[in-house]
C-alpha cells in the first residue's frame, strides 16, 4: 500500500478523534515546544553575549589598581597606588601581544552649549581608546596622540549628547563648555547603544586624558599622571591568557611587588564578567533540555497508549483489511504511519508554540530571536522518530492479529 493512501487514512482517523488525538499529542507538543524554546533562547542569549563582547571591544583586557576582591578599604589602610601614564607606556612598549593600550578616567560633568545644558559622563582617554573599544567617529575626526600629549581642548560627542545640545545641526567646529572650560568639538561618535552593564554609551563625551586631568578632574587626581583604568587590546583571542601574564609581569616589576607578594593591581578579561552574568541562562537552557527530553518520552508513551486503544477499537477493520488482501506489513505500516502523523502533527503544533514562547521570552529578556533552521528540522525529525519508536509496538500487535478473530471482534 502506498504511503499517500496510508497518510490519508491516518489523517481521517486523526480528525475523527480530534480531541483525543490532541490530548495524546500533548506530551509531544510540550516536548518539541520546549526543545525549540530551549535552543532558541540559549542561542539568542549567546548571540546577545557575543554582541555585548563585540560592543565592549574584542580581546579586551582591563587593569585596575587595588586587589581583585573589591573589599572595602579598612581603616588606616593605605589606598593602593594609582596606575599612571607610565604604566600605560610600559605596557605598550613591553608587551608585544597588545595592539593598543589606553588610559581611562571618567566623571560626570555639566556640558553647556549656548542655552542648552546637559550633564553627562566625561571620559578622559588616550588616542588608542577608540581602537580598543572598536569604536569609531561617524562625523569629523578623532584626536591624535600628539593632541593627547599636548593637552589640547578638543572633544568627541556621543550621539545622544549631540542630539541633546545640537538637535539637527552639525556640532563640528562649535565650542562647548565642560564645567567652565571651552572645548572644540572635532567629532561625533558612532552610535554604540547600551553597554553590557546597562548604561547609555552614546550619552558620553570623550576628551584627551591629559586635558581632562589638568582642566576637569584636577582636584581629585592624586598623582599628576594618574589613570583610573587601563584598557588594552590583545592581538589574538587565543593569546589572551599569555598576554595577561605578560602584563602582570611588567606591572609587578614597575610597581615593585616583591616575589610571592600580593599584586596591588589586577588584570581582567572583560568578556569574563559578561560570560559570568549569562551563566544562569545557560543553566536554564540545561533544565529545559531535561524537560524536553522527558516530555518527548512521556509524549511517546501517550502516543503508544492511544495507538493501542486505536488497534483495539479497529480490530474488525484490521480483520477486514486482512481479508481483502492486506499483508502484515501493510497493517503494520498503516498504524506506524498513523503514529508518525500523530507525532508530526504534535511536533508542528509544538514548533509553533515554541516559536511563540521564544518570541515572548526574547522580548522580555531583550535578546534577539534566533530560530535556526537546523533546530526546526531536528525537532520535526525527532517527533517523527518518537512516533516511529513508540508506534512500533502497537503497529506490530495490529499486524499479528489473526484475521478470523479480528473479523469476529465486536
Amino acid at each position: 500500500m502506498n504511503l499517500l493512501v496510508s497518510v490519508r487514512i491516518a489523517l481521517v482517523a486523526l480528525r475523527v478523534n480530534a480531541l483525543r488525538s490532541l490530548l495524546a499529542m500533548l506530551g509531544v507538543i510540550i516536548g518539541v515546544g520546549s526543545v525549540i524554546v530551549m535552543v532558541s533562547v540559549s542561542s539568542g542569549a549567546k548571540q546577545k553575549v557575543e554582541e555585548e563582547i563585540a560592543n565592549i571591544g574584542a580581546n579586551l583586557l582591563t587593569v585596575r589598581a587595588g586587589d581583585s576582591s573589591r573589599r572595602p578599604r579598612q581603616q588606616g589602610e593605605e589606598p593602593p597606588s594609582p596606575l599612571t601614564d607610565r604604566d600605560v607606556a610600559a605596557l605598550r612598549d613591553e608587551v608585544p601581544g597588545l595592539v593598543a593600550v589606553a588610559g581611562y578616567m571618567r566623571r560626570n560633568q555639566p556640558l553647556v552649549y549656548g542655552n542648552a545644558n546637559w550633564t553627562t559622563g566625561i571620559i578622559g582617554a588616550d588616542a588608542d581608546y577608540l581602537e580598543v573599544r572598536d569604536w569609531s567617529v561617524a562625523e569629523g575626526r578623532a584626536f591624535s596622540d600628539a593632541e593627547v600629549r599636548g593637552g589640547v581642548k578638543v572633544a568627541l560627542l556621543g550621539e545622544k549628547v549631540r542630539e541633546e545640545l545640537f538637535g539637527d545641526t552639525s556640532p563640528l567646529g562649535s565650542t562647548v563648555r565642560i564645567g567652565a572650560v571651552p572645548f572644540d568639538v572635532i567629532g561625533v561618535l558612532d552610535r554604540k547603544g547600551e553597554s553590557a552593564w546597562g548604561s547609555d554609551q552614546d550619552d558620553q563625551v570623550i576628551v584627551p586624558i591629559t586635558t581632562a586631568r589638568k582642566r576637569l578632574f584636577g582636584r581629585r587626581v592624586t598623582v599628576r599622571d594618574e589613570v583610573r583604568l587601563i584598557l588594552a587590546e590583545a592581538a589574538l583571542p587565543d593569546q589572551l591568557d599569555a598576554v595577561k601574564s605578560e602584563m602582570e609581569a611588567v606591572l609587578r616589576a614597575r610597581r615593585k611587588v616583591p616575589p610571592g607578594g600580593e599584586d596591588d593591581f589586577y588584570v581582567r578579561d572583560a568578556t569574563e564578567s559578561v560570560m559570568a552574568r549569562n551563566e544562569t541562562s545557560s543553566q536554564l537552557g540545561l533544565l529545559l533540555a531535561a524537560t524536553a527530553g522527558i516530555s518527548l518520552v512521556v509524549g511517546g508513551i501517550g502516543i503508544m497508549n492511544i495507538m493501542l486503544v486505536a488497534v483495539t477499537e479497529r480490530t474488525r477493520e484490521i480483520g477486514l483489511r486482512m481479508a481483502l488482501g492486506a499483508r502484515r506489513r501493510d497493517i503494520r505500516n498503516q498504524f506506524l504511519v498513523e503514529a508518525v502523523v500523530l507525532c508530526l502533527t504534535g511536533g508542528l503544533i509544538g514548533l509553533a508554540a515554541g516559536v511563540l514562547v521564544t518570541v515572548v521570552i526574547a522580548r522580555g529578556g531583550e535578546f534577539p530571536v534566533v530560530i535556526e533552521p537546523t533546530i526546526i528540522a531536528l525537532s520535526v525529525a525527532s517527533s517523527a522518530l518518537v512516533g516511529m519508536f513508540f508506534g512500533l509496538y502497537p503497529a506490530h500487535r495490529a499486524s499479528r492479529l489473526n484475521p478470523i478473530d479480528a473479523l469476529r471482534h465486536e
Binding site: M1, R316, M322, A323, G325, A326, R328, L407
Partner: protein, 237 residues
C-alpha cells in the same frame, strides 16, 4: 480429466484448534471438489465445521492436515504474505454485517482490495466505478455507509468483493441482516453474477436462500454429511 478443472479440491482436510489444554477438532476429514462456475450453499448447525471450512476456503486459515487446493494454489503450503496475496487475487468476501469502513465513501470502500493489489489511483477509480455500476449503485458512489440502507451497503460490499475479479465469491450469511424483500434483491445479484460465470459459495441456515444455489453442502460434526450434487466430477471420470 474433469478433476483438473476443479476450482476447489479438498482431500481429507482436517482442522484442529488448541483451546487451552484441550484440542478441538473442527473438521475431521472433508473431501470434495467444486468446479468453476458452481453455485454452492454451505449449511449446517453451529459447531458443524461450516465456518471453519469457509475460513480455510477463504485462505484466512490453513488446514491442520490434508490438502486444500483452490484456484491452483495449495493453501497448506502458503505463508502469511502469500495467503494475503491469494485472498486479494482469488477471493471476494461478502459478510453478514457488510463490514464497510464507516468513514469512507462507497467508492473508496470498493477500491480497498485494489489498494492492496498495488493498482494506481486512476485505474482503481475506474474499476471501482465499474464494479458499483454492476450492482446498480452508480449514483451512490460518494455516499458514506451511514447514508445507505442495509441492502445498499451489502451491494457496496458485493461490488468490493467483485472489484479485483476473483475466481470465487465467498458469502457468509449475506442476507442475515436484511429483510426478506432486500434479501431477494441481494440473491438476485448473486444469481446474475453466477450466470456471468462467477463461482459463488454461500453459507446460510435459511432453506429458501440455499434453494437459490444449485448444489448444497451440509456439514455435521466436522464432516460433510450431505452433498446434493454428489460431486459429478468425483463420480464420473
Amino acid at each position: 480429466m474433469a478433476a483438473a478443472t476443479a476450482l476447489i479440491r479438498a482431500e481429507d482436510v482436517h482442522k484442529t484448534y488448541q483451546m487451552g489444554e484441550t484440542e478441538v477438532a473442527a473438521l475431521r476429514g472433508v473431501s470434495l471438489a467444486v468446479e468453476a462456475g458452481a453455485y454452492v450453499a454451505v449449511m449446517g448447525p453451529s459447531g458443524s465445521g461450516k465456518s471453519t471450512f469457509m475460513n480455510l476456503l477463504g485462505a484466512l486459515d490453513v488446514p491442520s492436515a490434508g490438502r486444500l487446493t483452490v484456484d491452483g494454489s495449495d493453501l497448506g503450503g502458503l505463508g502469511a504474505d502469500a495467503l494475503a496475496a491469494f485472498r486479494n487475487r482469488a477471493i471476494g468476501f461478502v459478510f453478514q454485517q457488510f463490514n464497510l469502513l464507516p468513514r469512507t465513501t462507497a467508492l473508496h470502500n470498493v477500491e480497498l482490495p485494489l489498494v492492496y493489489a498495488g493498482i494506481g489511483a486512476a485505474e482503481r477509480r475506474r474499476r471501482a466505478t465499474e464494479s458499483l455500476e454492476r450492482v446498480g449503485l452508480a449514483d451512490r458512489m460518494d455516499h458514506h455507509p451511514a447514508q445507505l440502507s442495509g441492502g445498499q451497503q451489502q451491494r457496496v460490499a458485493i461490488a468490493r468483493a467483485l472489484v479485483n475479479r476473483p475466481s470465487i465469491l465467498l458469502a457468509d450469511e449475506p442476507t442475515g441482516a436484511l429483510d426478506s424483500q432486500t434479501s431477494g434483491e441481494i440473491m438476485a445479484i448473486f444469481d446474475a453474477l453466477n450466470r456471468d460465470g462467477i463461482t459463488v459459495v454461500l453459507v446460510t441456515h435459511e432453506a429458501e436462500i440455499a434453494a437459490c444455489a444449485r448444489r448444497r453442502l451440509v456439514f455435521h460434526d466436522g464432516r460433510l454429511a450431505e452433498d446434493s450434487a454428489a460431486a459429478p466430477s468425483e463420480t464420473t471420470p
